[in-house]
């Protein structure tokens, strides 16, 4: 097997610091949501409204906001760094293009249990799509977050996203999308543990 690194150091640093930031942002975000629960969401099969305070970070609204607006900088810095390096390195070639034929072939392979993870350098079409979704979803999260934080200063973005109140729903929906991605991502990584090793040590 090729001994060179699968994931360069810059990517691993961004991945893990972002993982920490995203967990902080989601847990503190749930606490902020709890101050005005604008959706009628319950833990399925119970009378407990989302999100139980034990799942959240910050202890109270003010504390949660402090966590949220501290971790925000890590996410923003990572987003800028990642997009720049995504464009100037060959990294984008791992994700693009995703063709309908390739996707169809890989879905069939997956259903038949023949989807392989032998070469960690080679993403299959489903992986490519999942990672591109996570990227796009995080861009939506940052954009809607900017509108909620600075609706006057980023007036054009507020108009683009359909107004301040709509941005709140978009931010929540994008959070849900990211949670879904994280669940699948973590389950898949645990099923193929060498991917975790590769993301930690580079190979």
């Amino acid at each position: 097997m090729d001994k060179t690194s699968i994931h360069p150091l810059w990517l691993r640093i961004i991945h893990w610091s972002n993982a920490v930031a995203v967990v902080i942002l989601i847990m503190s975000g749930w606490r902020i949501y709890n101050a005005t629960r604008f959706l009628h969401l319950y833990i399925p099969g119970t009378n407990t409204r989302l999100f139980p305070n034990e799942w959240t970070l910050g202890g109270w609204l003010g504390g949660a906001i402090q966590w949220h607006f501290a971790a925000m900088w890590i996410l923003m810095a990572n987003a800028v760094l990642y997009l720049v390096l995504f464009l100037i390195t060959k990294r984008s070639k791992q994700f693009l293009p995703v063709t309908p034929q390739g996707l169809w072939d890989d879905i069939r392979a997956f259903v038949n249990g023949r989807l392989s993870h032998a070469d960690l350098r080679q993403y299959n079409a489903i992986q490519k799509l999942a990672y591109l979704f996570a990227l796009a979803d995080m861009i939506v999260l940052i954009a809607s977050g900017l509108v909620l934080w600075k609706s006057v200063q980023f007036g054009w973005l507020r108009v683009l996203l359909g107004g301040y109140e709509t941005a709140r729903y978009i931010h929540f929906l994008a959070m849900t999308g990211l949670c879904a991605f994280i669940i699948v991502h973590v389950v898949m990584a645990l099923l193929v543990p060498k991917t975790i090793k590769a993301m930690l040590w580079g190979r």
């Binding site: 604008f38 109270w60 906001i65 402090q66 006057v152 301040y164 040590w201």
Partner: protein
């Protein structure tokens, strides 16, 4: 030292040597030690919850500075039509609506302090005689709800000019009849949409909305908009605020 222990020592050293000779194993060991050290260090930091709180407070102050830089004095908050006004407009304070302070309009005097040239107190008729502006804007609460209302009063920068406030100072502070207090940055105080408001929806401000006056800023969150103002002061010394001192972000602007 007994023979048994000596044997153990040799065995341990032998095993460690084996581990250290294989480059892959050595790297793994090094990484595990680094991870352990890191988690120990962060674990200690997290145990001292006080220090985490200090870091978060420092970041919040950093965010005040960042928001000051982002703030564009010419960027205007959107305005709305009469039909968008929320009825009834929500009441929100750190007490229930029946505890809203009762201010006697006859004896009321607005006090001025700090870096202001003319610090003579103002009575209500004099304040009501100031040029009047009406504005329909969205009030955004830190709790995550928002509501559109119509406020009327004097453009605050006009009032500051009339009393000879030193607008090179950093802060404008407010003391309120209910014990509330807060402070804002000078650029926001001078923003064209910042009103010293005496009316809500065309009527004198009722007690629940802040009689006799509130500072209405559509560029800031609700807790930055003080109600029942009894004193205004201009200063270069950071005055903090009721919620801000407990951890809400001081700039609190949108």
């Amino acid at each position: 030292m007994t023979r048994d222990i000596k044997n153990d020592e040799e065995a341990i050293l032998k095993e460690a040597n084996g581990l250290l000779k294989d480059p892959a194993k050595r790297r793994l060991l090094g990484n595990v030690l680094t991870l352990g050290g890191l988690s120990l260090a962060t674990g200690i930091a997290l145990n001292h919850y006080g220090s985490v709180r200090e870091i978060l407070k420092a970041v919040s102050r950093f965010n005040d500075g960042a928001q000051g830089l982002i703030f564009n004095p010419d960027a205007l908050a959107p305005t709305y039509s009469e039909a968008d006004i929320k009825e009834p407009f929500p009441f929100n304070a750190f007490y229930s609506v029946d505890k809203a302070p009762v201010v006697d309009p006859g004896s009321f005097r607005l006090a001025l302090a700090g870096k202001i040239a003319d610090r003579r107190p103002w009575d209500l008729p004099a304040l009501y005689a100031l040029p009047h502006t009406e504005q329909i804007t969205r009030h955004i609460c830190v709790e995550g709800w928002s509501a559109i209302g119509r406020w009327g009063g004097v453009v605050f920068s006009e009032f500051l000019k009339r009393v000879g406030a030193d607008t090179t100072c950093k802060y404008v502070g407010f003391k309120c009849a209910d014990g509330y207090f807060t402070s804002i940055d000078m650029p926001t105080a001078l923003h064209s949409q910042t009103l010293l408001a005496f009316t809500f929806d065309g009527q004198l401000l009722p007690a629940k909305y802040g009689f006799p006056m509130k500072l209405r800023m559509p560029t800031k969150l609700g807790y930055k908009n003080p109600k029942h103002i009894v004193e205004i002061f201009v200063t270069n010394v950071y005055p903090g605020g009721y919620w801000e001192d407990m951890g809400y972000n001081w700039f609190g602007g949108s």
